[in-house]
């Protein structure tokens, strides 16, 4: 009688598909990555209603101390001196990219007069839509206390 040969167990971990999985993950990150044009650190207000902001949008950010940065959406944001500079910036954006929305990224604690001047500049430059950037308000959260 012929004896059955003893089966040999492979002691290695099969890693042949590792590269496939890794490349799939890389493709996922490459597709979803978006480079932020404005990295100003602000505490955003929280809202329940939120709409997706178009990818091609100009940014105006205002920090709690009133420092303003602008970006047309094509380059990294730069600091501007005053709301008058925002007007000339916005006018050039509207002239170059008609219909481009503006995103207002303001700290929730900034005095409204700073925001008022920026909104006024955007209105005067014939901007059509402003998005007030916000964070999602969670259930049961008091909007008055949100964001510290």
């Amino acid at each position: 009688m012929k004896l059955k040969s003893r089966s040999v167990q492979n002691s290695g971990i099969p890693t042949a598909s590792m590269a496939d999985i890794a490349f799939l993950l890389i493709i996922f990150f490459m597709v979803t990555i978006s480079f932020e044009v404005d990295k100003t650190q602000v505490t955003l207000p929280t809202t329940k209603i939120r709409f997706e902001i178009p990818k091609e949008a100009a940014y105006v950010s205002i920090t709690e101390s009133g420092k303003i940065r602008v970006s047309s959406g094509e380059e990294i944001s730069v600091v501007v001196g005053s709301a008058d500079d925002v007007l000339s910036f916005a006018a050039s954006v509207v002239g170059t990219y008609p219909g481009r929305p503006f995103v207002l990224k303001a700290d929730r604690g900034v005095p409204y007069e700073y925001v008022d001047r920026v909104i006024d500049s955007l209105k005067q430059s014939k901007a059509e839509v402003i998005y007030l950037l916000s964070q999602q308000e969670t259930v049961g959260e008091d909007p008055a206390e949100a964001g510290g």
Binding site: A19, I26, P111, V115, K126, Q135
Partner: protein, 146 residues
């Protein structure tokens, strides 16, 4: 003497492929930032030569004072009561009535957004949308407020 023959592998060496791929993954994971890309939209009226004057009696005026106190047509109100207790009744009689948000220059921007967000939830809370919400700037108030 036995000569040793060099054997050349006909396979592409792929053993380091996974290492390279994982390095790229780590790079993307570190550089990816999950940015807030949502917010409240706010359509701006296009300026005309002659601005229509809005009579105070024809609109609902929401004032936001420093500290966040809210006054609706001079009546102090809590944020969550504005729609149910006041605006619903007013707009049922006249759905086109403009609602004007007027924050004090020293009020916090966050309080203005809270009020605007509340008004945008009108359809969910009181069953109909507020068609005409405006936030005039100080320049517009100085020019057109009677």
């Amino acid at each position: 003497m036995k000569l040793k023959k060099d054997t050349i592998s006909d396979e592409i060496p792929t053993s380091s492929m996974a290492d390279i791929a994982f390095l790229l993954i780590i790079y993307f994971m570190v550089t990816t930032t999950f940015a807030a890309t949502r917010g409240l939209d706010f359509s701006l009226p296009q300026e005309e030569e002659t601005q229509p004057l809005v009579e105070k009696e024809e609109s609902i005026l929401i004032e936001i004072r420093p500290g966040g106190a809210i006054y609706v047509d001079d009546n102090p109100m809590e944020l969550e009561d504005i729609l149910e207790d006041y605006i619903k009744e007013k707009l049922e009689a006249n759905p086109t009535k403009p609602v004007i948000i007027r924050p004090d220059p020293n009020a916090e921007y966050g309080h203005m957004v809270d009020v605007f967000d509340e008004l945008r939830q009108a359809e969910e809370k009181i069953g109909f949308e507020i068609r005409n919400v405006s936030i005039p700037t100080q320049r517009e108030i100085d020019m057109f407020w009677y």
